[in-house]
């Protein structure tokens, strides 16, 4: 495997792309599984292409270079009482990182988009796909592409910025991104309620998600059968809403978490470290509520090996997995016609980062060829 090259200018990145047979761009490598490729590939990091280029609080937009950390962006937005509502993961420096592949620094904005990762706050206003407005990137032919627009509303041309969401660096080397942001609620407060089993949990999540309360997040920790609700508003307003939810559900009490409890609950998830030391691999699994029940039941029989955190009202499963169990996860997902994306894990166990049912549509390769005519970026299949 070649040495990791740190590019400091966009022109240097263009040159590298033009002169590499196979190239993959990474950021701070907080999601190392996504940058593992079998073939000899030139790895480049854009972590030095860093900085917020434009921030217009009155426009609800900012533009940042690819390697800008989420931590820097979060701080800049917070100073103007704004935030990224899709709640990105891995914002903080990860002191527990012991993998040589990672730098210990928090995730970058381009890595977050390329991985297609959205946190619990995705429930309220949408995911990373719903907030990206423009993307500047180097296409496979080395040309610098300016796609999208820097205003919050734009319907001109193909929506290439969205295509890059989840592309894992296989369609282009991102150099800068523009996002929409929102005013940040004055406070967030977390509440929890207990379900008897996964079926009841699914029923409660469905009721919460279509209720009148406009909750910020609805997550489910399947091991404890505990549903977490986050509301963004002043404490008195949040408490009034929580009281009304209890009244509406009748059989369940919605109990407040203290601020400390809330931090202790959410932080391991936001660092994707909620599986503890023996379940360090992380798999993202898109799903619906019925699939959540099935997956949660499967996990019950393997508690020491897998742990499910179902996020965004049952739309995303985050699976913390022991490295030696990834092959079992792969088999389960294939049997259930579901797909998983390994964010962090031991590649040797499966040899790829897509688990379960995988796409194999001719159109995917045609789109890849359009974005990368010389075929310099690795293929989309995750092998």
């Amino acid at each position: 495997m070649s040495e990791l090259v740190d590019v400091e200018t966009i022109a240097a990145l263009q040159e590298l792309v033009r002169h590499s047979e196979s190239i993959l761009v990474v950021g701070n490598r907080t999601k190392p599984a996504l940058s593992s490729v079998a073939a000899p590939t030139q790895r480049v990091t854009t972590r030095s292409l860093s900085g917020i280029i434009e921030y217009e609080p009155s426009e609800f937009t900012f533009t940042a270079l690819a390697g800008t950390t989420l931590a820097e962006i979060k701080a800049a937005l917070a100073s103007k009482n704004q935030y990224l509502p899709f709640d990105p993961f891995l914002t903080e420096t990860d002191a527990t990182a012991d993998d040589n592949a990672t730098t210990g620094a928090g995730a970058t904005i381009a890595g977050t988009l390329a991985a297609g990762l959205s946190g619990p706050g995705r429930h309220r206003y949408g995911g990373v796909r719903d907030f990206v407005l423009a993307a500047q990137f180097v296409a496979g032919d080395g040309n610098l592409i300016q796609s999208g627009g820097k205003v919050v509303k734009n319907a001109a041309g193909f929506d290439i910025p969205k295509l890059l969401v989840g592309s894992c660096g296989r369609l282009g080397a991102i150099t800068a991104l523009t996002f929409k942001v929102f005013p940040r609620p004055v406070e967030f407060h977390t509440y929890q309620l207990q379900s008897a089993d996964h079926e009841e949990a699914a029923r409660l999540i469905a009721a919460l998600a279509r209720g009148r309360w406009e909750l910020d997040a609805i997550d489910y920790r399947s091991e404890s059968r505990s549903i977490w609700i986050r509301i963004g508003a002043a404490k008195a307003v949040c408490d009034a809403i929580a009281t009304d939810i209890s009244r509406s559900l009748q059989t369940h009490t919605v109990a407040p978490m203290t601020d400390e409890q809330a931090v202790q609950s959410w932080a391991p998830l936001m660092q994707l470290r909620f599986g503890g030391s023996n379940r360090r691999s992380i798999v993202k699994i898109p799903m619906v509520l019925q699939q959540m029940q099935r997956l949660a039941t499967w996990c019950d029989d393997r508690r020491d090996k897998v742990s499910l955190h179902a996020s965004v009202a049952g739309s995303i499963g985050w699976l913390a997995v022991a490295d030696d169990t990834l092959a079992d996860v792969d088999a389960f997902l294939a049997d259930a016609s579901m797909t998983g994306l390994v964010i962090r894990g031991d590649q040797q166990s499966t040899g790829r980062w897509m688990l379960g049912t995988r796409r194999s549509a001719p159109i995917d390769q045609k789109i890849k060829d359009a974005m990368d005519p010389p075929g310099r970026f690795p293929n989309l299949g995750g092998e």
Partner: protein
Amino acid sequence: MPSVDLQTLSDLLPPGRLSDDAASQAAFESDGLTAFRCRPLAVVIPQNETEVVQTVRWCDQHAVPFVARGSGTSLSGGSMPVAGGIVISLNRLRQIIKVDPDNRIAVVQPGVINLHVSAAAARHGLYYAPDPSSQKICTIGGNIAFNSGGAHCLKYGMTSNHVIGIRAVTASGEIVTFGGESLESVGPDFTGLFCGSEGLFGVALEITLRLLPQPECFHTVLVGYRSLRAAGDAVSAVIDSGLLPGAMEIMEALAIEAAEAATQCGYPKGAAAVLIVELEGPREKIEAEKQQLESIIAATDAFETVVAADDQQRAGIWAGRKSAFSAVGKLSPDFLVQDGVVPRKRLGDALEAIEGFSKDSGLRVANVFHAGDGNLHPLILFDDSVDGELERAEALAGKILDLCVQMGGSITGEHGVGMEKREFLPKMYDEPTMELMHRLRAAFDPQTIANPGKMFPGAEAPALSSHGLHPLEKAGVISRE
């Protein structure tokens, strides 16, 4: 174009699906960009997905261009027929296949009317958020093609933000599935790419939509100002406060006058501009936010403030806004609507510049716009029977689009590029980016048969001729915004 034997297409389909008589051709010769018309070779009205796929594959085999069409409300000429091509009218694919309240999704066919989705979801307390003004008649397939917007885009986003899965037939006849029933997916967001592709990739056959809980409460405020700039300043004040209204709309004097005449909406008399601000959400939040909004508005130069006391009054306020375009349109035999976007802080500068363009050209312009997201809708009034007025109107429209690009905005916020603005797309995107878009198109449509002449400048375009307002528009059934 070489002659084609339509009989071979007719033989593929059940009787009555294909029409090539003059009456059928005439019925589909125009869309919401009413100034222009072009007759297709034939019209196919499929009853099911198989017939759509058969038609597309026939077009691919014979290299015949086609345009998929819903209700034909495109304001950019996006669903205008192609001379010598087939119109595939999707209005009969109008089944709402399912509404899943637990996962808050609806699966629909492309010919389903936008508002019908919300009607079907309403019994579960859910709705479909994108609300283009033509939502009573426009279809989901068309909304996807043009990534339609509406008054609530700042908070809720555009159509693409609410589409999570698409099954489609590409122009080369391949059936593709993007996304699915989960809000999330793995791999590149192909669904997002397909939305807003203006029919250049193929035809959507089945669409999975994300539904939202219906807002419990609305707090709608109508404010009158003596100047447009004062109304613009009020928008900035609301944005700076940290509130996130569901909608913020501004109308100026000419539009107010016309709306008042059409709907008796009770807008403040003598206002140079009115601002509509609407908060929406659970009652506990709205109770707190409405007090905040009240103090913000009180600190502006408002001369009259009306708070909707009930649903009826709220409906009245919105009736004025939603009728504005058709109402203004009645002031003139013809009009063009533009759809550019400018950064919100440049709204005042943009409106002053448009006023100058209007004076220079001798044509009146009325402005209605989505103030929250900087989406302008200048309405250019002209009379096509007067020699040169259409050309002057188009030149004025072009100046406005150039202005939007110069200010760092966009040539279209929600109508799409279509046929109307295709010459302006290269002003937004440089050559490598345009080339990439052509390559993406070729991935779906190597023969350039799906909706040619739209989005991209060049020689694909049909010959155009101007013909005045659409009959439905004259009747006030549809409006352009």
